[in-house]
Every structure is written in C-alpha cells, then in structure tokens.
Symmetry: C2
Subunit: 244 residues, 2 copies
Amino acid sequence: HSHIKPESFGQKDIAEYAKGLKYNDKGLLVAIAQDVDTGDILMQAFANAEAVEATLRTGLGTFYSRSRDSLWCKGETSGHFLKVKRVFCDCDRDSLIYLCKPIGPACHTGEPTCWFEGTGEGAGGEDTIEVVNEMPRTTLQMLEETIRAREVDDEGGVGKSWTAKLLGDTDLLCSKVREEAGELCETLEKAEGKERAASEMADLLYHSMVLMRKQDVDMVQVMEVLRERFGVSGIDEKAARSKL
Amino acid sequence: HSHIKPESFGQKDIAEYAKGLKYNDKGLLVAIAQDVDTGDILMQAFANAEAVEATLRTGLGTFYSRSRDSLWCKGETSGHFLKVKRVFCDCDRDSLIYLCKPIGPACHTGEPTCWFEGTGEGAGGEDTIEVVNEMPRTTLQMLEETIRAREVDDEGGVGKSWTAKLLGDTDLLCSKVREEAGELCETLEKAEGKERAASEMADLLYHSMVLMRKQDVDMVQVMEVLRERFGVSGIDEKAARSKL
Ligand SMILES: [Zn+2]
Ligand SMILES: [Zn+2]
Ligand SMILES: [Zn+2]
Ligand SMILES: [Zn+2]
Ligand SMILES: [Zn+2]
Ligand SMILES: [Zn+2]
Ligand SMILES: [Zn+2]
Ligand SMILES: [Zn+2]
Ligand SMILES: [Zn+2]
C-alpha cells in the first residue's frame, strides 16, 4: 500500500505508539468503541495519549473524561467494561476504533449502545423527518429484528406472515431449512451463477435464523461460538497469557 | 424508556432537528459513517448543523471541512458518495451515526474504510505491541477472511486445512452443507438445547460460507439481497419517491 508508511508497522513501544497519534489542541482524539461480534458502534468518547496507552496495556477501553479532567476506564464504577481486542487508527491518525467485547450495556442509561434515537423510514415531506426510538441496525440485525417482530401480529396474536407460519410449524420450518440448503448446494452443483448463489444463501440464512428464533437463540451467540472456534485473540487474551 | 424525553420523537422539522443537537465550542459534533450491510465504520469527520440538515435533505453524507471552512458532501469530487439510510444521535446528542451504503471506497487513499492500521494479535511483551496493515473485522468478516486465507497455503499451493479440502471437493462440500442443515434441524426436532443450536448454526454458517467462497460470492452480496427483500428503506429512497 503506497499510502502507508512502512515505518508505521512492526513491533512498537506502546507509549511511543500512543504518542505518535494525532491529537487536537486539547490533546484529544476521537475514540469509537465497536462490538467485535455484532459490529454495533457502542459508544464514542475522547482519549488522550495516556488513555490510549492504558487501553493497550490493560485491554480495557479507557478514555479521557473532560468533565472530571481525568482518565476514565469505562466500567470502573458500573462493571460494564469494554474488553478491547485490537485498536485501529484512521488514515490521518486522529480517530481510533476500540474493537471490543462489551461486558453489559455500553450506555450509562442501560441501553446496549448510546445510539437509540434515530430518524425513521416514515413518510415525511421534504422539510420534516420522523424521529424514533430505534438503534442503528445492520442488514443481518434488521433481519433478526424483523423475524422477531413478525412472531406476533399487531394485536399480540399469532402473526399471519410466512415467518409466523414457520415459527408455528416445526415440520414445515425444518423441511424448508433442509430444502434451502439443498437449493444452495445446487447453485454450485449445477453452476447456476453468482446471483442465484447469493439469493439461495439469503434464503438459507433467513430460514435458519427463523429456526434460531424458534429456539430463542440470538445470532450474537452464534458469533461468539465462531469467534472462539476461529480464534480471534486480542489484547486481553495476550495479557492473560503473559500472566501464565 | 424513562431516560428518553418523549418530546424527542415524532415528526420533526429537519432544520430544527439539526439545530437541537449538541455542538461543541466550534459548532461541530462527531459524525461517524457506518456501512448498513457490513457494519464497517467507514470514516469519521465532523458536522455542523448545516451539514446534518443537508444530509437529511439529500440522503448523501455531508460534513463540515475544517481545512476548507465549508460544507463538504463526501463524494462531490470523487463520486464516492455515502447514501445515507438513517441518522442516529447518541445519548447526549453530540455524536451521530450516518447509517449508509457507500458508493466505492470511503477513504481518499482508495481503501474501503479509513481504518487500515491496527494493533495485531502478535506476541509482544508488556511494553510493546505489533502494528499491522489490517482493518477492523467483526466475527463474520473474520470468518470470511479466514476462509479466503486458507484457500492457499504459505507457498501459494493448495492449502492442507479442512477449508482447503472442502474448497477442492464439491461433493464433500455439498454433502457437508446438507448434513449441517440436518443437524441444525435436529436441535429443534430433538430439543437438544440452545447451546447445541448455536453450535450447529455456526457449523452451517461456516460450511455455507465456504460454498459461497467456492463460487466467489462475498457475504456483502448476500446482505444486499436480504436488504432489498426485507425492505430497509431510507432517506435516499424517500427522496426518490418524492420525485415521482
Ligand atoms: Zn492500501
Ligand atoms: Zn481522521
Ligand atoms: Zn450513552
Ligand atoms: Zn425453496
Ligand atoms: Zn431457495
Ligand atoms: Zn431505554
Ligand atoms: Zn456523546
Ligand atoms: Zn481516510
Ligand atoms: Zn454440525
């Protein structure tokens, strides 16, 4: 990558790495905590060099509190720590991502993340927008949420959607999951092309996620299994190893 | 939600909504662009009230450029726009998420996102950390990357891993996908419990993602299919409708 200075890479002294980032006139940069399993942006605060250094040493998301004028290890009072796996800096080195696993809700309000007010998809004219109590949802999360919402209809009864029908009929649901797996395999066996493969993978994902909902298992639990199985280690695990 | 003021919700005038956010002494707040399909944090810049208003009116991610002292619609020169679906503000209203679909790379360097330098999982003592050229990866992306990496071994030949074996044997791969779908169904049919269900869903996801790799289809393409199918509309689509 020609735009990357090779001297940036390799083994670095933690204090020097932290000092080498770009801070504003108040000695701060933007630090964004992101959930490694869900991709959720959990919270955003500011960090000084000391906070970045502490994060890298301890594996716990640490910021600078402007109101208290001191380092702030998120969770030190609530117990809701951010276990930081890896830290990333942006192209001009003034904005960090703490890629982490949150322990408990990330927001002091008790919400899972700090973003729970958004503009909706409502009608609205050109000058107005609907503001709703919702969190940012990626496509997979939106699908999970849609499946959950369709479990019941508007009156709280059994929904009339295809999703509700699947949730109410184990034989139908399982036969669909097996059928969709077969259809996905056929895209390869019969060389049906990429578009058809993406479409059948979408079918299989949707139906298997209905099967997960039926068993009250969230996709984040599946991600945790995958992460452990495929070994995404991080700062905290390294710290643990160094104690052995 | 007791911590949310109900007057925050409902149909709002766009200009008043933008003015009601919390700006710093320079009239700015943090704006974070996130990819609706992948969850990737794409870029982070600052926005003033005018930029927020422009984003909500046009559906294109707009910021305030401190160097040029003017509004900056990302993509206006490169064509790499951010098509914003929805905007979210955090609990103290000084940090926004632009949930969007990027057109082309988000970073001016040509990288997909601005974060391509991170601390690795390397050994390292207590005072050093390895810095590598990698992007933040959520668990699903890490799995996709791992599958891709195992396609070839260190010498560029056919890998010796289970993944490489599956990629080289269509019969084996398809029989595994069908078998794992069956095992996932059995967790429901035989009431094997949540832990087993999560584990079998992980098996099915992994094997079906190998099948996608074999056909050179990325998971983001699957997410696009799901998004269109389950109708995540947004500002841009609303703007399009208002032109009909
Ligand atoms: Zn590059
Ligand atoms: Zn930056
Ligand atoms: Zn918060
Ligand atoms: Zn079918
Ligand atoms: Zn199908
Ligand atoms: Zn709440
Ligand atoms: Zn805030
Ligand atoms: Zn950049
Ligand atoms: Zn299995």
